[in-house]
């Protein structure tokens, strides 16, 4: 694959997706980033690791031919690697996290402020280093965070968070405003850093899925599937066909649940409480069906390495199919109401616009990317089973504003309801789970799934006894949080909650 000038050609990893891996030399590290960028590819994730006293950084790129994993080994003498943010601005925060988690430095990076470490552990404590157990505790020494200041007559700051007004996750937003106009927004995240990645280490591969499913609760199916795919690829296991179809069924139901919730909340944030009442009722019915037919309202712990932990009988399938018909009718009616409500459209249209050019420059991905003309959708671009049998219809809007992000949700909702019915109609028979082998050689695997928010990536390295040596989980929020800082520019402060909701990014998935 690939025309990239690399000393070693990339080798394909086993698994259901086109994933290629290559070890690169220092000079190739940044040259590859430049080549991928020039080729229209994007950076999916960037992470570090340490095994047997040898550190490395890995970059995952989405290219036309699939996922390209480039790994750069760093010898002890020099723990620095070239900064990738000139080609992929989203790399900046990931590099700050790598510096804290492993002590590896991005050479040339301009922003060297702490990111996840708020002063509650020492700056030279790097939890993902093998020498750390992760169980060490330290006296807190909170440090002031130097926000970038905007100077000028009449400029003042509004500090929001970490605790926000509503029932949402914590994070800090620093607005620099003149009157009500926002001149600059700077986000500070990391408040819900739980040390998730360290917690994976040493767990049996089968047990890690419980953690993966709790990286970001709203995307539990996406993460559990990505984790299961990574482990299965590493162990050379293929889940039964029925399990793959049930996974997709649950992933699409998760997408519908989140879109229903967001569409109600977006109406509410624009002063249309009726929309919230209607959509939250639909969502509640939907979640109750999850509890009834799958045993968990949010579908946690239903996807496991080797298959799925729950099966669906004919009566259940009929029930789910009927529910799709009913929800489709309700959503169509509400969509008409939203479309024809002048006050609502006035708030949605033109608000929080991210142009296609800006989206491409900053690497906006997932749902928000598709609202700004970025077509990426793994279910279409690199469909694994069962998506290869479903001909998923890509949803792309070009407006880039809140209205476009609302439209993408409506259209994806309809498409997911169609997919659910197709999945139910074509559900193959057979087992839903296969046993995992207890070990073998040390191995690595990748899982890459299009969750409702965007593409979720899980990279797993297993030791010979099938325990986890390293597990990296990547949320699309890493790419999209910095874009939100741009979406609010020149808008007024009261529109921020609406714009923020239209992206609905994960704090937990980002902070880990």
């Amino acid at each position: 694959m690939h025309g990239y000038a690399l000393a070693t050609p990339p080798s394909k990893l086993p698994g259901p997706l086109p994933v290629w891996r290559v070890d690169v030399a220092r000079a190739e590290w940044s040259a590859l980033a430049a080549a991928v960028r020039a080729d229209g590819g994007r950076l999916v994730s960037l992470w570090g690791s340490e095994r047997d006293a040898a550190a490395a950084v890995s970059a995952a790129y989405a290219t036309g031919a699939g996922l390209l994993l480039a790994r750069l080994a760093l010898d002890g003498a020099d723990d620095a690697y070239a900064d990738l943010s000139p080609w992929f601005p989203a790399a900046a925060c990931m590099q700050r996290a790598i510096r804290e988690m492993l002590g590896l430095r991005a050479d040339g990076a301009r922003d060297e402020r702490a990111w996840l470490n708020h002063g509650n552990w020492p700056r030279d404590y790097h939890p993902l280093r093998a020498a750390c157990s992760g169980r060490e505790t330290f006296a807190p020494a909170p440090a002031a965070y130097p926000f970038v200041r905007v100077e000028g007559a009449g400029v003042h700051e509004i500090a929001v968070g970490p605790i926000h007004a509503g029932i949402i996750e914590p994070g800090h937003f620093r607005f620099s405003v003149v009157g009500e106009k926002v001149l600059r927004l700077e986000e500070r995240l990391g408040y819900v850093h739980r040390g998730v990645e360290k917690r994976f280490e040493g767990r049996p591969a089968a047990a890690g899925v419980r953690l993966a499913g709790r990286v970001s609760g709203d995307s539990t199916v996406a993460y559990a599937w990505a984790y299961a795919m990574a482990v299965e690829s590493a162990l050379g296991v293929e889940p039964p066909a029925r399990a793959a179809w049930l996974r997709a069924l649950m992933l699409e139901r998760e997408r519908v649940a989140n879109h229903l919730g967001d569409l109600g909340a977006l109406g509410n944030d624009a002063g249309f409480g009726f929309g919230l009442a209607q959509f939250s009722r639909l969502r509640e019915d939907w979640l109750r069906t999850h509890a009834e037919r799958f045993g968990h309202r949010l579908l946690m712990d239903r996807v496991v390495p080797g298959g799925v932990a729950v099966d669906l009988d004919a009566a259940g399938a009929a029930r789910l199919d009927a529910e799709c018909v009913a929800v489709e009718a309700s959503v169509r009616a509400l969509e008409t109401l939203y479309d024809e409500h002048a006050g609502l459209q006035d708030r949605f249209t033109g608000t929080g616009r991210v142009s296609a050019e800006l989206a491409a420059t900053l690497g906006l991905c997932g749902l928000a990317g598709r609202a700004s003309g970025r077509p990426g959708d793994l279910r279409v671009d690199h469909p694994c089973a069962p998506y290869d049998a479903l001909a998923v219809r890509r949803v792309v809007e070009t407006g880039g504003d809140v209205a476009a992000r609302v439209r993408v949700r409506f259209r994806e909702l309809h498409e997911s309801l169609r997919l659910i019915r197709a999945l139910l109609a074509g559900l193959p028979g057979g087992d839903v789970q296969v046993a995992l082998p207890h070990g073998g050689a040390a191995a690595a695997g990748i899982g890459w799934i299009e969750g409702w928010r965007g593409d979720v990536l899980v990279a797993v390295e297993l030791a010979a006894d099938a325990t986890i040596a390293r597990c990296h989980c990547h949320d699309p929020s890493w790419q999209n949080w910095p874009v939100l800082e741009h979406a609010i520019l020149d808008e007024i402060v009261p529109d921020f909650p609406l714009i923020n909701k239209s992206f609905n990014l994960s704090y937990a998935g980002h902070d880990l």
Partner: protein, 170 residues
């Protein structure tokens, strides 16, 4: 407008009955005394704080605001400021990065302060126990009155936890 009204009428009233109090969940029943109940009356103002959850608990707490649970009809509402709150509803095993914000929210509340820990993480039974980044449970930071188990607990169980916290006697 006509469509909207038709939909309102056709939707009916979905409110479901309130759950009964669960005395076993009460950690310090003595804290909820007669006088406080009188002061609260039947109204309850809640400040929610995510102190390190995976956001699943927030999804279920948000679901409490859907029409099935008729929260405001029962005098219970979520407020933006801890200064307006009778009860602090806390999720997550309390990250070290959220510890101070949580303490400040608690300090800002008027007495008597009720604290309900929601979910296995808040209870100290979740997968995110004490480490360099997490304190381990809400009770390690604040005096907790009621713990609602579950990962995440469904809205009805969270409502049961609220009722339990406010009920005067078991």
């Amino acid at each position: 407008m006509r469509d909207l009204l038709e939909r309102l009428v056709a939707g009916g009233r979905p409110s479901e009955p309130l759950p009964l109090a669960e005395p076993r969940w009460r950690v310090t029943p003595a804290r909820v005394h007669e006088e406080m109940l009188r002061r609260l009356g039947r109204a309850l103002a809640i400040r929610e704080v995510d102190a390190g959850s995976c956001n699943a608990c927030e999804l279920e707490i948000n679901a409490l605001n859907n029409p099935y649970y008729n929260l405001e009809g029962r005098g219970i509402r979520f407020v933006a400021s801890p200064r307006h709150a009778d009860l602090l509803l806390v999720t997550g095993s309390v990250t070290r990065n959220m510890r101070e914000a949580l303490l400040r929210a608690y300090d800002a509340m008027p007495a008597p302060k009720l604290v309900v820990a929601v979910g296995d993480c808040g209870a100290g039974r979740g997968p995110f126990d004490e480490n360099y980044a997490c304190v381990g449970s809400v009770a390690a930071v604040l005096p907790v009155d009621v713990v609602v188990p579950g990962c995440p607990p469904p809205p009805l169980e969270i409502l049961r936890g609220l009722v339990t916290a406010v009920a005067a006697r078991a």
